[in-house]
Structures are given as structure tokens and as C-alpha cells.
Amino acid sequence: MRDQDRSREIRIPARTGVAFTVGAGTIIEVVDPEGEQTADLWAYYENDLSEYLSAPHTRIGNMRLFPREGEPFWTNRRRPIIRILEDPVPVHDFLSAACDPWRYEELGHKGWHASCQENLELAMKRAGYGEVVCPQPFNIWTNFHLNADGTFEIRRPATKAGDHITLRAEMPSVIAISACPQDITLTAGLNPTDMVVRIR
């Protein structure tokens, strides 16, 4: 039995990230154990990492800004890679970039600050995948509030302790998830906490 076929639970410490492989059909449940936390998620086709979950292709694939329960995320080669099975707190962001060193610099932070982009890069290296591109992630529970004129604001996450989202891999995938370290804006409720991933 390959490691990726085994049921397991991964705890992602606050401000860090993980990467793991899953086979097609694997269920991935992301849980916010303490509430008001957000997580960036990326997915790559395991056999060719240049094919990955692509936000613009997902928008045109579903003809929606945000995928809903039952709908897939699409790759840059227009194939479904992940599907949302259950989404009890369906308030996410699918239009913003991962936070990165330049974002914290822009916010006035001096020196190093953990970021989702760096968490992705470190997690993929640890998992043995080397350099990867950082596409626009699915920002789980980042509370993106769109106004009618196209402007938007990011509010506190709407999750309570124990809330979850359930996803299913549609192809063999490498998944990376970062427990967002944002502690300057409301994105992660000003208090970054752990995330839990259950794989089965």
C-alpha cells in the first residue's frame, strides 16, 4: 500500500504548510479546529506539475467566480482536478494571490515574515518536488466580500471551531496547504492558528 492510499490526519501548525500526494477519488477534509482561520490550497497533477489548479480556467470552466458544492476546480489544461463535495461555510476567496514577502513589505513589516507562498515552496521541497510555480491559490475561508461595483473587501473568516470543507481529488494530485500566517490584516482573524487535514 502506498503512503498516499492510507487514511491519515495531518495537523498543520499555525503559519506553516504541508504538501502530500493523493490518488484519484481520495477524500480530503480540511478542518479549522479553532475557527477564524484561512488556508491557501494548491493542487498539481502528480505526473506533470506543469498542470495545476488554475483559477482563471476554473472560473471559465464553471462560468462562476467561485466554485460551489458539487463543482470542480479545473487545471490550466481544462481538466477537473478537485471537486467540492461539502461546503457548509461557503465563504472563500478565489481571486487574490497568496500572501508573499512583498505583501508583508507593502504592509510595513520589517524583516522576514512567514507567507503562504514561501510555505508552498518549502512544503513542495520537503515533499521532494523542487521548484514549482505558485499559481493563484484557492483561499479557503478567506472572507472575500464582493460589492456590486466590482470592489471588494476581506473580512474576518466566518468559520467556528471545527468547521470543515470536503474535497475529492479527481486525478492523482500533489496538494499543498498553507495555514495562512497573515496577522496584520483581518484575513486570518488577526490570530493565525493550526489547520487539520483528514485524508481518506
Partner: protein, 203 residues
């Protein structure tokens, strides 16, 4: 006035352009109803590019409009919109690509913006590892309620244009979109003109 770059790009094809800091890039929809995929790279380091994702975050809006400063994937200013006759552009959907036509419309080998942009950038002799998401000039992708998006024809009329001033040295590509199967270009791709010089192109 002499123009350093002045190219008429046939509908469905692509062309590259470049601009030094301070120069103006004027894109004209010559016959109207035409969308053009537009990408820009920072000349000193093409790993830095105009990024619609980061623009959204910086502008706190999913649309761009006149006066907006457009930023790179490193969140630095690259271009500013100084004139915009149409006011409707898209920064949310991808360039059309081989899969779009081959798989979704059953038309393999159809011209597409992705290959147009790759080809025109390669012609400059620059090594690019990844094609950024485009800013789709004049593309009309309205949000039509409950987060649904529409794909419809541009609102641009013949001769209408957008003018961007470069804030750093940049080069890029313009691809008047070859989409002729569903709405997006009035079902008939037509030419666009890209002009670069010390002033916005008027005529």
C-alpha cells in the same frame, strides 16, 4: 511625432511590443467589438510580470479603470492606465488555448491567444518559463449575479482605445483574440493597432 513601435496586428494573430519607462502604449480596436489579450514583462527581469491577480488585490477591485496603477507579481507598479475609452476589460478568465478549441469546441489546430503570446515573446529572443495570466483588453465578462459570469461581445466601437503609460521598462504581447465560435469578438476577429511613443497615439 514618430512612433518607436507601430504595428497593426491582424485579428487572431499576436505581436510583441516594448516600452521604456515613461513611454505610452496605445492599443486601438480598429474595427470595434474586438478583445485583445495583453501581457507585459519587466525588461530587466522577465520573471516579474504584469499580474491581474496582484492588481485585483492592490486595487481592491476585480475590474480595472482609468487612473489605475497596474502592478507585477512582486507587487510593484508597472503601468498606469491614462486613457480608457471603453471602461470594460477582463482580468478574470484565461487566454484561449489549444485545449479550449480542440476539446471544448472540437476544433483542433485553431489559432489561440496562448500560442500567439508565446510565439511573439519568443521572437524577441527572451526566455520565458511561464506565461502570465493576461489582462484581456475590451473583453466583456460581466458578473451577472450570484457570482455567475457571462461571456459576451466587447462594447468597443471602431477607433476606441486604451492608453497605458509604462512606469518601468517593459515588453509584452498583444493578441487580438481569434475566438470566432462563441461571442467574445463579435464572432469575427478583426485587427488591433499597438503604438508606443513619447505621447498617447491620437488619430
Amino acid at each position: 511625432m514618430t512612433w518607436r513601435v507601430d504595428r497593426v496586428v491582424p485579428g487572431g494573430f499576436g505581436a510583441s511590443w516594448d516600452a521604456r519607462a515613461g513611454e505610452f502604449v496605445t492599443v486601438v480596436d480598429l474595427e470595434g467589438l474586438q478583445a485583445g489579450d495583453f501581457i507585459a514583462f519587466v525588461a530587466t527581469d522577465p520573471q516579474e510580470w504584469l499580474s491581474p491577480i496582484h492588481c485585483r488585490e492592490s486595487l481592491r477591485s476585480i475590474f480595472v479603470r482609468s487612473g489605475d496603477v497596474l502592478v507585477t507579481n512582486r507587487r510593484r507598479p508597472a503601468l498606469v492606465i491614462v486613457r480608457d475609452d471603453v471602461g470594460v476589460h477582463d482580468a478574470t478568465i484565461p487566454a484561449c488555448d489549444p485545449t479550449r478549441y480542440a476539446v471544448e469546441f472540437g476544433v483542433p489546430g485553431h489559432r489561440n491567444c496562448l500560442e500567439n503570446m508565446w510565439q511573439s515573446v519568443r521572437e524577441r529572443g527572451v526566455a520565458i518559463e511561464r506565461m502570465p495570466e493576461p489582462l484581456n483588453l475590451f473583453q466583456n465578462t460581466p458578473v451577472v449575479g450570484e457570482g455567475r459570469i457571462g461571456l459576451t461581445d466587447p462594447l468597443s466601437r471602431p477607433g476606441q482605445r486604451i492608453v497605458l503609460q509604462a512606469l518601468v521598462d517593459v515588453f509584452g504581447s498583444l493578441s487580438p483574440c481569434p475566438q470566432d465560435i462563441i461571442p467574445g469578438n463579435g464572432l469575427f476577429p478583426t485587427p488591433m493597432r499597438v503604438v508606443v511613443g513619447d505621447a498617447p497615439f491620437e488619430s
